[in-house]
C-alpha cells in the first residue's frame, strides 16, 4: 500500500534517514524500533510527504506521492503524532470531526454531513471517549487527549495509519485498548499501520513485522521472532538484554539486563 525505496533525508549536513526501504502491506502492523535520534519520527513524517527527501521514492498505491494532492493523500494516510499544544478551546467532538476535513466536498466553508457525524461518533465510542464528547480538549488528561488524537486519525477512514509513539501517555489498559483498535483495523478493514515505539514488548505482541533502525538506517527487518534476539538488540541499543518466550503468547519477551 505504502512503499519507500532508497529513502534518504538530510537536515543541513546531518543525515537523518539513509537508503531506507520499507513497505507497508494491507492487514499488517509494522513496528519501528530504535534508539532516540535514529530517525524514526523523521521517517514517519517523510512517508506522509511532510519532510522533503534528498533521494528515493515513496509510492502510495502504486503512485508517486508527489503526484497526489494533499487532500487525497490525507484520505489514504492518517497520522497520530505527539500533539501540539492547544491554545484555543475546542471540544472533543469538534477535534475528532477535524479528521473529516479531507472528505469535505467544500473544503472552505463546508459543513459536516450526517455521515461525518456518524463516523466521528463511532470512533469516539471505539476510543471510549463518549462521556467526554462535549468536553474541551485542554481539560482532558494526557491519556484522554492521546485517545482523541487516535479517534481523529480513525475518523479519516484512511487505510494507512502512521503512529508516532501512540501509547506514550497511556496507562497499561489503554495501551492495550489502543493497539487492539489498530489490530482490529488491520484485520477487519485490511488497513496497514506503522507504529514508531519504544515499547519493544508491546511491539512484539502486536506487530507482524519489526524494523530496527539505527543512525538513519534500517539495520534489521523481520518478524518479531526473527529480529528480537539478544545479539541484534545489543547491536542496536548497546545494552545486554534477556530474550525469553512469553509464557502466554509464546512470542519473544525482552528484559534489559542492568548490572550494578
Amino acid at each position: 500500500m505504502l512503499e519507500a525505496r532508497d529513502l534518504t533525508i538530510r537536515y543541513d549536513d546531518r543525515t537523518a534517514v539513509a537508503d531506507l526501504t520499507l513497505s507497508l502491506k494491507a492487514g499488517e502492523i509494522t513496528a519501528i524500533i530504535g534508539p532516540n535520534g535514529a530517525g524514526k519520527s523523521t521517517l514517519l513524517r517523510a512517508l506522509n510527504g511532510q519532510i522533503p527527501r534528498v533521494s528515493g521514492v515513496i509510492m502510495l498505491d502504486g503512485q508517486p506521492l508527489e503526484r497526489l494532492n494533499r487532500r487525497s493523500i490525507s484520505r489514504q494516510i492518517a497520522v497520530v503524532a505527539q500533539e501540539a499544544e492547544l491554545r484555543f478551546p475546542v471540544t472533543v467532538l469538534e477535534f475528532v470531526l477535524g479528521g473529516r476535513f479531507a472528505w469535505a466536498t467544500n473544503s472552505g466553508w463546508g459543513w459536516e454531513t450526517e455521515r461525518d457525524l456518524e463516523v466521528a461518533n463511532a470512533v469516539i465510542d471505539e476510543t471510549e471517549l463518549s462521556d467526554l464528547n462535549a468536553r474541551l480538549m485542554n481539560e482532558l488528561s494526557g491519556g484522554e487527549r492521546q485517545r482523541a488524537l487516535m479517534a481523529r486519525a480513525l475518523a479519516t477512514e484512511a487505510p494507512i495509519l502512521l503512529l508516532d509513539e501512540p501509547t506514550a501517555n497511556l496507562d497499561l489498559s489503554h495501551q492495550a485498548t489502543l493497539l487492539t483498535l489498530v489490530r482490529k483495523r488491520c484485520d477487519q478493514h485490511r488497513s496497514a499501520a506503522l507504529v514508531v515505539t519504544h515499547d519493544i514488548n508491546l511491539a512484539a505482541q502486536f506487530a507482524n513485522n519489526i524494523t530496527l533502525m539505527k543512525q538513519g538506517r534500517a539495520v534489521h527487518s523481520g518478524t518479531p521472532q526473527e529480529v528480537l534476539t539478544p545479539e541484534i538488540l545489543q547491536e542496536i541499543f548497546e545494552l545486554r538484554v534477556l530474550v525469553d518466550a512469553h509464557p502466554i503468547t509464546g512470542g519473544p519477551r525482552v528484559t534489559p539486563i542492568i548490572s550494578a
Binding site: 511532510q50 494533499r70 487532500r71 493523500i73 490525507s74 497520522v79 500533539e83 501540539a84 484555543f88 469538534e94
Partner: protein, 335 residues
C-alpha cells in the same frame, strides 16, 4: 459549547447585522450638532433621496459628514477584527493582533511614504499601505519562528521589534513633513476617523467585505491550522497556500484601514476574542461574527470619541486602546 452549524452561524450573523444596522442609524443621530430624530430617520430611510424637512446644513451634516464617517468606522473595524481573527488562527496565538504585531505600523509607513512622496496620487495610499503591511507580516512571521516553532511570547517579541523599528522609520519620515501637518499626523497615527478621505470609503468598504468573505471561505482550513501546522498538513490542508492567502488578505485589510484612518489599535484583539467567547472557536462562525462585531465596536468607539468632549474630539484609537490594553493583560495571564 454546542457544535457550530450553518443554521447557528446564519442566525448569529443576521442578528449581529441587524444590531449593526441599528447602530449605523442611531449613531448618525448623535453628535455635537443635534439633528431632529424623526426627520433624520425619514431622510435615512429614503437613502438621501428626500430631505424630510431637514435644513440643507442638517442634511449635509447627516449625509456628507456623519454617515460617511460611520461607514468608514464600520469598514475599519470590520477589516481589523477580521484580520485579527485570521492572524490568530494562522499563528495559533490568541494575542496576535495587527497593531501589536507591528503590521499596522508597516501599513502606516507605507501610507506616509505615499503622502510625502506621492501626495497628489491618492490611490498610491492603500497600495503602499498594503505593501507595508505585507512586508511587516512577513518580517514578524520569520522573526517569530524559532527552533522550537513560534511560541506566543516569541511572536509578541517579534512584534515589539518590528513595531519599534517601524516607529523610528515613522519618526524619520515625519521630520520630512512641514510642521503644520505634524499634529494631524500624530492624531492619525493613533487612529483617527475625523480627517479621513471620502475617496477611500468605497475602496475600504469593498476590501472589507471581500476580505471577510475570503477568510470565511478558508475557515475550515483555519480551524485545523489553529491546532498546529503539522496537524493541519496531516489532515489535508494545503498549509502553504492557505498561509499565503491569509497573509495577503489580512495585509490588504490592515492596509486599507490604516490608509483610511491610521492605526486603530486592539480592535483585532478585543473583537475576535469576544466572538470566540460567545460563539466558540470555530472560524466558520467566529470570522464573520468578528467582521460584523468589529464594525459595531469601532462605530460605537468613534461615537464616544467624537461626543464625549464635544465639540472637541479624541482619536478613536485612544478609546479602543483604553478597552483593549486591559483585555490584553488578562489574556496574557491566561495563555
Amino acid at each position: 459549547m454546542n457544535r457550530v452549524t450553518l443554521r447557528k452561524t446564519l442566525i448569529s450573523c443576521a442578528l449581529l447585522g441587524a444590531v449593526l444596522l441599528l447602530a449605523i442609524v442611531s449613531m448618525s443621530l448623535l453628535g455635537s450638532e443635534r439633528l431632529p430624530a424623526r426627520a433624520s430617520l425619514c431622510a435615512l430611510a429614503s437613502l438621501g433621496s428626500s430631505a424630510c424637512g431637514l435644513t440643507q446644513d442638517q442634511f449635509d451634516i447627516l449625509f456628507q459628514i456623519r454617515l460617511p464617517r460611520i461607514l468608514l468606522a464600520a469598514a475599519v473595524g470590520g477589516s481589523l477584527a477580521t484580520a485579527g481573527a485570521g492572524y490568530q488562527a494562522l499563528l495559533r496565538n490568541p494575542l496576535a493582533e495587527p497593531y501589536l504585531l507591528g503590521i499596522s505600523n508597516g501599513a502606516a509607513v507605507g501610507t506616509m511614504i505615499s503622502l510625502v512622496f506621492f501626495g497628489a496620487i491618492e490611490w498610491t495610499r492603500p497600495l503602499l499601505a498594503f505593501s507595508g503591511a505585507f512586508a511587516a507580516t512577513f518580517a514578524v512571521y520569520r522573526l517569530a519562528r524559532g527552533r522550537a516553532g513560534a511560541t506566543p511570547e516569541r511572536l509578541i517579541l517579534a512584534g515589539v521589534i518590528v513595531t519599534t523599528f517601524l516607529s523610528s522609520v515613522i519618526v524619520f519620515v515625519t521630520t520630512l513633513m512641514d510642521a503644520t501637518r505634524i499634529r494631524s499626523f500624530t492624531f492619525w497615527l493613533l487612529g483617527d476617523l475625523s480627517g479621513s478621505s471620502k475617496a477611500l470609503l468605497p475602496v475600504a468598504i469593498t476590501i472589507t467585505i471581500l476580505g471577510a468573505l475570503a477568510l470565511t471561505l478558508h475557515a475550515r482550513s483555519l480551524n485545523l491550522l489553529m491546532l498546529g501546522e503539522r496537524d493541519a498538513f496531516d489532515l489535508g490542508v494545503e498549509v502553504g497556500r492557505v498561509r499565503m492567502v491569509v497573509f495577503l488578505v489580512a495585509s490588504l485589510l490592515v492596509g486599507s484601514s490604516v490608509a483610511a484612518s491610521g492605526s486603530v489599535g486592539y480592535v483585532g484583539l478585543v473583537v475576535p476574542h469576544l466572538a470566540r467567547l460567545s460563539l466558540g472557536s470555530d472560524n466558520r462562525i467566529s470570522i464573520p461574527a468578528a467582521a460584523l462585531g468589529g464594525a459595531l465596536f469601532v462605530i460605537v468607539a468613534d461615537t464616544v470619541a467624537r461626543t464625549i468632549i464635544a465639540p472637541r474630539e479624541l482619536p478613536v484609537g485612544a478609546i479602543t486602546a483604553l478597552i483593549g490594553a486591559p483585555l490584553f493583560i488578562y489574556l496574557l495571564k491566561r495563555v
